[in-house]
């Protein structure tokens, strides 16, 4: 938790002075019972009205000053805690931006977002509490005890006995109930899971007429929650009664023993009242302390999760000073004995991949799920580093390029069509920041997206909602292709990015790319043999190994896996017919 303290640096002033103001307020609060004791002892017993007014006014003044100091402290706490959170969020976001794909995969999006939002919020609360209460509450406990000692040593021993008892009760109840609440949280997650399963599977549940079974399953879980919550409730219901018994017994002891002291002339009546007051203040402060313990336990966990992200280092290290000397006659892309493993655990996701792609060529990559198709293309823009071998672009190892330079040559169309909130034009500008409208239109035309964009009332200025919610799957895919084309890349990578297009549009798209982007090297990943059939070179992947490289015809003759894929998609007669046609 303390590692994150550096984000408070800017708010040093608030962190130091906030608690001091709060402390002053607490001191005032401790003085009040003493003044009241004076009113009783001096004012009433000597019938001094003036004294009562003066002392009463003093209490009001103490209250007003206390309020002012407290407000200053609260304001400082707000500025410091929100400022801390803002700086932390900024740093965390830009750190996440700097991480490479391996680290992002490892954390997972959902987890990163939780850390960026609720974990940071939790720490903000902790910082505010740190300034507002961490000094105040224990100080009140200590202060009230010390004040009690200044009044009477013997009676203060009652405080010394009661405080640990109350503290132990608080600790006991908190420690006992926390596991219950964790358990309830887990069961609530299960509630969500069952509900979700039933929503997704609504058709299946009804098709099998299993509604009652599902209701029973849900009921069991609801009963579980009920049972745990009731047990937790039994324990937490103890807190108030037990502390109140301890407190009041302490008060009884003060009165009883105090009676002897007053009888002996050692104490006054007003002082007894003051002692009773201090006892009450201590109880209130201890309850605050127990809440603080809970808040800080949670915050420590949040801080650990945030630190984990901040300490992760990008595995792809950039060589910013590199000045690559590209050879004009070298092949565009060259895989030279490439090995890759995701966790460096020896389980290779890619094994000994060797191929070259020249300028203007189209390379098709085909293979089953998990055969390593996406892995292979992710290595070209250096999203991951190879574990063995080398990848060269224009004759230069990809590790010898500055990242921006390398990636600016490549247009990637990812499998999941991801668009960003903003206008169509904003999205296209990602490809090239100073792009003109006519360039955008050309790209849209090639990507077969021009027609539907033209029909939108605002054309290029039409808003795209988050995740492109207002577009169909096929429209999104075509826009992501257009975005990649906008940067006029030398290498275009299509990662199964036409899966939502019907066959006719898919064909038009491929034809248009061929016509308009003649010198582009295109890499197409697909599950459809039909899509890669016309490529200059097809790479057939199976379990991370290239089991065949060649043209459609060559592979039909030589590669068993390729034949199997084609057979599952065309009927045997069609393939035969096709072979005869040529």
């Amino acid at each position: 938790m303390f590692k994150l303290a550096r984000f408070l640096k800017k708010y040093r002033l608030q962190v130091i002075f906030g608690p001091i103001f709060k402390l002053t307020e607490a001191i005032f609060e401790l003085i009040v019972p003493l003044v009241m004791a004076d009113i009783i002892d001096k004012g009433i017993s000597s019938s001094d009205e003036g004294f009562i007014y003066r002392a009463g006014a003093l209490i009001v003044v103490l209250g007003v000053c206390g309020l002012a100091f407290a407000l200053i402290c609260q304001y400082m706490a707000s500025v410091a805690s929100q400022g801390f959170g803002t700086e932390l969020r900024r740093e965390l976001f830009s750190h996440i931006d700097s991480l490479s794909h391996s680290e992002l995969d490892e954390f997972g999006t959902a987890s990163l977002i939780t850390r960026l939002t609720s974990d940071v919020n939790q720490l903000q609360v902790a910082v505010a509490m740190l300034i507002r209460l961490v000094v105040r509450a224990p100080f009140l406990v200590l202060g009230a005890t010390v004040m009690a000692f200044t009044i009477d040593f013997k009676l203060s021993l009652i405080f010394v006995a009661a405080i640990p008892l109350i503290a132990v009760t608080l600790w006991f109840v908190t420690a006992k109930t926390i596991p219950f609440y964790k358990n309830i949280q887990k069961k609530l997650d299960k509630t969500a899971r069952i509900t979700q399963e039933n929503l997704i599977g609504a058709r299946a549940v009804r098709a099998f007429a299993k509604q009652e079974h599902e209701e029973e399953r849900f009921r069991e879980n609801a009963d579980d929650i009920n049972r745990i919550a009731v047990r937790a409730g039994k324990i937490s219901a103890l807190l108030n009664p037990v502390t109140s018994i301890i407190l009041n017994l302490a008060v009884v002891a003060i009165i009883w023993l105090g009676g002897y002291s007053v009888d002996a002339g050692e104490l006054s009546q007003g002082q007894i009242i003051a002692l009773v007051n201090y006892m009450n203040q201590i109880l209130l402060a201890l309850i605050v302390v127990s809440n603080l313990v809970v808040i800080f336990t949670k915050s420590a966990a949040s801080a650990a999760r945030i630190n984990e992200v901040l300490e992760a280092l990008p595995s792809v290290k950039e060589n910013t000073n590199a000045e690559p000397h590209m050879a004009e006659n070298a092949p565009m892309i060259e895989f030279d004995g490439v090995y890759f493993s995701y966790h460096n655990n020896g389980e290779n996701a890619l094994e000994n991949i060797d191929f070259t792609a020249n300028k203007g060529e189209t390379i098709g990559i085909i293979g089953g799920t998990g055969s390593g198709k996406s892995t292979l293309i992710n290595l070209i823009p250096r999203f991951y580093d190879v574990s063995g071998g080398a990848i060269k672009v224009k004759g230069v190892d990809v590790r010898d390029y500055p990242l921006k330079r390398l990636r600016s040559m490549i247009g990637v169309v990812p499998q999941k069509a991801a668009l960003f909130s903003g206008t169509v034009r904003d999205n296209m500008k990602w490809g090239k920041s100073d792009i003109t409208d006519s360039e955008i239109e050309n790209a849209l035309k090639t990507a077969q997206a021009y027609d539907f964009i033209k029909e939108l009332p605002d054309g290029l200025d039409s808003m795209i909602l988050q995740e492109g919610k207002n577009l169909s799957g096929g429209q999104k895919q075509r826009l992501t292709i257009a975005r990649a084309l906008c940067r006029k890349p030398e290498i275009l990578i299509l990662d199964d990015s036409a899966s939502a297009l019907d066959y006719a549009t898919d064909l038009k798209l491929r034809t248009a790319i061929k016509e308009n982007c003649g010198d582009m090297t295109v890499i197409i990943i697909s599950q459809r043999a039909n899509t890669v059939k016309a490529a200059d070179k097809i790479i057939v992947l199976n379990d991370g190994a290239a089991v065949g490289i060649g043209t459609h015809k060559e592979l039909l003759a030589s590669c068993g896996e390729y034949c199997e894929i084609c057979l599952s998609q065309f009927s045997a007669e069609e393939i035969e017919k096709e072979l005869q046609d040529e």
Partner: protein, 583 residues
């Protein structure tokens, strides 16, 4: 029945209806609240009486103190016991009520029309069943506990004070409105800022989801700086609102402490002055007043907190009740069950649309005799599932009839109709449970032999055996089975019930070729001799079908067999050519 706009009172009334089975606990809660609050109030009186016996040196009446102290201990103890009892009862009351509420919300999901589930975002429904009900539980717990004690404490305090000394009580009563005004002003300020803050936080989360979720695209286009700028702009806005929200909410404690201090000072001054007058209050009574003054504003703060909490609980309750009130599927008009189904299906003049302004199916006629195969084809997203929705009666036709073996499906029970079909959809459905439970879903009393036989027929026996615990491995949608494996399990699930009619959605783009062959294989094993409706992607399936329904943009555009459709030269012919002929 739309209860969305109903006021807080009627929501409360409905919530109270859910507590009805637990009325005994409710009564105990009230008794507990009254007794414990009275005990808490009586204790300062006793302490005051005791202090009055301790006047000065040599002037302490131990004879009188002793019984008072004993009485005090007894009162405190009784108060504590009743306080615990109240906590215990409210907890049971709340937890049981909430459980019932949750169960009825979930059970509702089993009887609403599919249309409701299809058209409501799942996240929203889940948050009603989980988060909203949790908020209700917090609200009820706080409400039952603190509202009762709070009200009793305030009334009790006033009565006690008035009975001791009306004049000083007046001081307390006069300052009270101040406390209320302060509390409500702060609450108003806070709720405005909190709403703004919540909205901005939502925006930050959405932006983070967008950019972190698509971080790979951001990197591919080197847009890191752009992302950071957009994030920072929102981050600064959040800072400004955050400081305000945090500060306003932090006002509550010092302000109420201040008002409390004023009451305390007022009681001190007027009490002391009163004590000076002959026949005025005693010092002990003053001490009693002082401790009331210390405690008096506390229930006010608590009640204003509880009211805020109850308001959000009511808002949640409204959402939950809206779910519970949504209308059910039209109930089965007859309890006639389909038995011994042959598989003759007839659609006559069927009209259907999801929304009245967008007509989808118009005058569809189709007659399928037992054992025939119907292929449904068309581009992705053309609404092939619509036909399935009608056949299974997930949706009702707008007009026209669908008959199975001559019986209109609206005149038989839904369950008997649906059990007549075996359905394997592209979206697989695996629930959290063992492999065995997943396969035997439609036939819970299946023997091990039957389960294994179905698994073998669906080509999943071999991969199941390789799982850690074989058929007893717990699996779920996200447990690492491949899409193809999940599909095979769904096929096994249908295999075991062997219904007379089938609805199948052929393999997907994300399945590797070998598994695809296996699924294909399993499908044809299943469809032999059975009436089958197949959403087809493969030419071989399409060619062999007895009848092809060609769909585009949600509507059925052509019907016929492969040969007749090709001759017609329409949409099907175009589709066929684009798919299988290369330019």
């Amino acid at each position: 029945m739309n209860k969305n706009k109903s006021g807080g009172f009627s929501v409360l009334a409905r919530l109270m209806k859910f507590t009805k089975p637990y009325t005994a606990y409710l009564i105990f809660t009230v008794i507990g609240a009254v007794v414990s609050a009275l005990a808490t109030l009586y204790a300062p009186v006793l302490i005051g009486e005791a202090i009055d016996c301790i006047i000065s040196a040599g002037n302490v009446d131990f004879q009188k103190i002793f019984p008072i102290v004993i009485k005090l201990a007894a009162v405190v103890f009784a108060g504590a016991v009743f306080q615990w009892f109240m906590g215990y009862c409210t907890n049971i009351l709340t937890q049981n009520t909430v459980r019932d509420l949750r169960i009825s919300a979930f059970n509702k999901l089993q009887s609403v029309p599919l249309k409701y589930i299809d058209s409501t975002p799942h996240g929203e429904i889940i948050s009603r069943v989980v988060a909203d009900i949790d908020i209700i539980s917090d609200g009820l717990l706080q409400g039952f506990q603190q509202l009762f004690t709070g009200v009793v404490t305030i009334i009790g305090t006033l009565c006690f004070m008035l009975s001791i000394n009306p004049a000083i009580s007046l001081v307390v009563i006069l300052i009270t409105p101040l406390s209320l005004i302060v509390a409500s002003t702060i609450a108003r300020l806070c709720s405005k800022k909190f709403k703004e803050q919540a909205k901005l936080r939502g925006e930050v989360t959405a932006l983070a989801e967008e950019y972190i979720g698509n971080q790979k695209v951001v990197k591919a286009f080197s847009q890191e700086e752009n992302a950071e700028q957009r994030f920072e702009a929102l981050n600064q806005k959040l800072y400004k609102v955050g400081v305000r929200a945090q500060f306003y909410s932090a006002l509550t404690n010092p302000s109420t402490r201040f008002v409390n201090g004023l009451v305390y000072a007022g009681v001190g001054i007027f009490g002391a002055l009163n004590a000076l007058t002959p026949g005025g209050i005693t010092v002990g009574q003053l001490s009693c007043f002082l401790s009331y003054a210390n405690q008096y504003t506390k229930p006010f703060n608590e009640i204003s907190g509880v009211i805020a909490e109850l308001q959000s609980a009511f808002a949640s309750a409204r959402r939950v009740f809206a779910l519970i009130d949504s209308s059910d599927e039209v109930s089965d008009s007859a309890d006639k069950a389909l038995t011994d189904i042959k598989g003759n299906v007839e659609l006559k003049d069927v009209d259907f649309s999801y929304t009245p302004d967008k007509e989808l199916i118009k005058g569809l006629n189709l007659s399928v005799s037992s054992g025939q195969h119907i292929a449904i084809v068309g581009p992705t997203g053309c609404g092939k599932t619509t036909v399935i929705n009608l056949l299974m009666r997930f949706y009702d036709t707008d007009s026209g009839v669908i008959k199975v073996d001559g019986a209109p499906i609206k005149e038989v029970t839904r369950n008997s109709l649906r059990s007549g079909y075996g359905m394997v959809l592209q979206e697989t459905w695996i629930f959290e449970g063992t492999v065995r439970e997943n396969i035997a879903y439609g036939k819970p009393d299946a023997t091990d032999e039957e389960i294994i036989a179905a698994a073998k027929a669906a080509h999943c026996h071999s991969f199941i055996r390789r799982l850690k615990k074989g058929y007893d491995t717990v699996i779920s949608e996200t447990s690492g089975l491949s899409q193809g494996q999940k599909q095979l399990l769904c096929i096994a699930r249908v295999m075991i019930t062997m219904p007379p009619m089938l609805i199948l959605d052929e393999a997907t783009s994300s399945i590797d070729t070998r598994t695809e062959l296996k699924i294909q294989n399993a499908f044809s094993r299943m469809t032999g001799g059975k009436t089958s409706f197949i959403v087809a992607h493969r030419l071989s399936t399409i060619k062999e079908a007895d009848c092809i329904l060609v769909m585009n943009a949600g509507r059925i555009v052509e019907i016929g067999n492969h040969r007749s459709l090709l001759e017609k030269g329409g949409f099907y012919a175009e589709l066929y050519n684009s798919q299988f002929k290369q330019t």
